[in-house]
Symmetry: C2
DNA sequence: GATATTTTTGAAACCGATTTCAAAAATGAC
DNA sequence: GTCATTTTTGAAATCGGTTTCAAAAATATC
């Protein structure tokens, strides 16, 4: 392995000088600088990153905690963040919690070990009181998920508004019995969406039938299962608000199997605006979350915090936009 | 920051002894061992990972090069690898090349810098002659993609067979004019699939019309575009072999738009067996690649190579399985 | 040309762990 | 209790960089 000492010897200089050249410090004569470059090239020298990290107390790595890569929302978030991090000279360490508290805690240790310069949390499995203990070990920010009482930078979507516009759209289509169907009702993201949902109902003086609440919906399979439950109800809902496009796709798939027409007999709205919304028949109405913007800002804020710029009270909120397609628009039922 | 010296001082011992306890070395009396554990706990000590890496010359990190996370095939591969790597005590550094030669080269430097203990290549953008130069800097293996002349461990699918069974299936359904529609014809994965495709045609004494070859198909949009091209042909194919489920989904979506019936007027077969195949109407016939097995073996081989176990000639090949659904099975056309 | 000032350079300390080597302590054999 | 052997322990070297500090060299000032 070629070390800085080898380069120094070859160039006939001290390693201090070589180090200065590597880091582009001033006070090195052009002659010697060239000698160093020549020696580096001849030997194919590249600085050892562990040694650099140890001395600089910076690893140039940022960890991002996501539930799992194959969740399209988090996958896209991770992809965008990786590209953005690279632009800032950082590696992104993608850590999957797989929805497990223990796994999340294990990943949080990375901050203690100084293996990463900072940590971006996109979901939280443990109680905030547990997670916040790690704040003293390095910069942490929230992205997507959030905590009311957390005093760390937060980059999020306006989930209340997202839940509100989606629900209002369903109501405007003439629906009064709307099912609510999401995963992780514990999360604040989920709670805010629910608040938006409730807000819309209130505005139109509608009430919610608790039997129409499903809080374990994550996947396509969950959507299919839930459709079956809905289909057996004596007084079924005529519309479903879902927390993800996958769940919406599942419900539509289930409906097709049982010959229930979407949107005529059952309107379904998704969330995220994943590609699948444009492929399903009918195309799925949904709420778009501008993920790349969120990712970009999150990485920027993280990099700032690593360099002690910005402050812990920063909160950035991005708007969500309703996208109307076919799965909610029934000519029979339309009010306006 | 709490260091091993702080722990040593607190326990009234030397850091050598503390280090022995941390690494569970023998020859430490039970009494002192307990003292060390107590001190570590009181101080909340965790070893600094950069320091460890520098001294051990091991970072416990493996890099995996993939084109991009949002490509479902590579996303699933990355997800499976991450979980498997964690089991072996390794972090997985997911590096997206975004199909760029330069980005790939930049990531390869990680091996030079000793930032990772090894590298798994799942796709190759540069010429192999360029890539192989990095072999001297650390262990590298191929997973999914492969190179005939490469002398490094390879974990792959039997793509020839995959292309063959899919094509044979189409032929058996009575098709004689089959379009071929993939991305990256440069890759060996693609070439082997094509070989399987050609093999099946030969077997049934069919010829291939070069106007039915599309080699720039990666995404759903590409599929839609290609359908339009096919639809305008004077003598169009009656079946399409595609390199991914997304492209197949795109073609089907395009066909729907133009009122062309799948599979009656156009049979379409996908590749990968992604969830989308079960959601589309018609459900997409496809070739399943057992990604988790591939990922598991790749990580195992990588870990072995890091510990100088195994050898560079290892090649593991996994079979691909045809999955027949609706997009290729037309009652009108069936031969058998 | 002597002196003051600035620029350039290298020796040595340092980052936080692991490992070697030799000394100290404990144990065993008689 | 003495000597040989084994176990336990710590001082110091090491990994490969960066940074400090002081000395050397170059330049400026008069």
């Amino acid at each position: 392995m070629v070390t800085i000492d080898d380069v120094a010897k070859r160039a006939g200089l001290s390693k201090s000088t070589v180090s200065r050249v590597i880091n582009d410090y001033p006070h090195v004569s052009i002659k010697k600088k060239e000698k160093v470059f020549e020696a580096m090239k001849e030997l194919g020298y590249v600085p050892n990153s562990s040694a650099r990290s140890l001395r600089n107390k910076k690893t140039q790595m940022i960890a991002v905690l996501i539930p799992r890569i194959m969740n399209p929302f988090f996958g896209q978030l991770a992809e965008s963040m990786e590209l953005q991090a690279a632009k800032h000279g950082y590696q992104l360490l993608i850590c999957q919690t797989m929805y497990s508290k223990e796994t999340e805690l294990k990943h949080l240790e990375l901050l203690k070990m100084k293996q990463v310069d900072g940590m971006i949390l996109t979901s939280i499995e443990n109680e905030w009181d547990v997670v916040k203990e790690y704040l003293s070990y390095g910069p942490m920010i929230l992205c997507n998920e959030f905590e009311e009482e957390a005093t760390i930078p937060t980059v999020k979507f306006d989930q209340v508004h997202g839940g509100y516009v989606a629900t209002k759209h369903l109501i405007r289509q003439g629906h009064t019995k709307i099912a609510y169907c999401t995963g992780g009702q514990k999360s604040n993201v989920g709670q805010h969406r629910r608040r938006g949902f409730d807000l819309a109902l209130e505005e139109f003086h509608l009430s919610f039938d608790e039997r129409h609440g499903f809080y374990d919906a994550f996947s396509i399979e969950d959507g299919i299962r839930i459709f079956k439950q809905i289909n057996q109800m004596p007084d079924p809902p005529t519309a479903v608000f879902t927390g993800s496009d996958e769940v919406a796709a599942g419900i539509i798939t289930g409906a097709k199997e049982y010959g229930v027409k979407v949107p005529e007999a059952l309107a379904v709205i998704g969330f995220d605006n994943q590609v699948i919304t444009k492929l399903m028949d009918p195309k799925i109405s949904t709420v778009e979350q501008p993920i790349p913007f969120l990712a970009k800002r999150a990485v920027e804020v993280m990099v700032d915090r690593i360099h002690h710029k910005g402050n812990d009270e920063e909160v950035y909120e991005y708007p969500l936009e309703l996208i109307i397609r076919e799965s909610t628009v029934s000519p029979i039922r339309a009010v306006e």
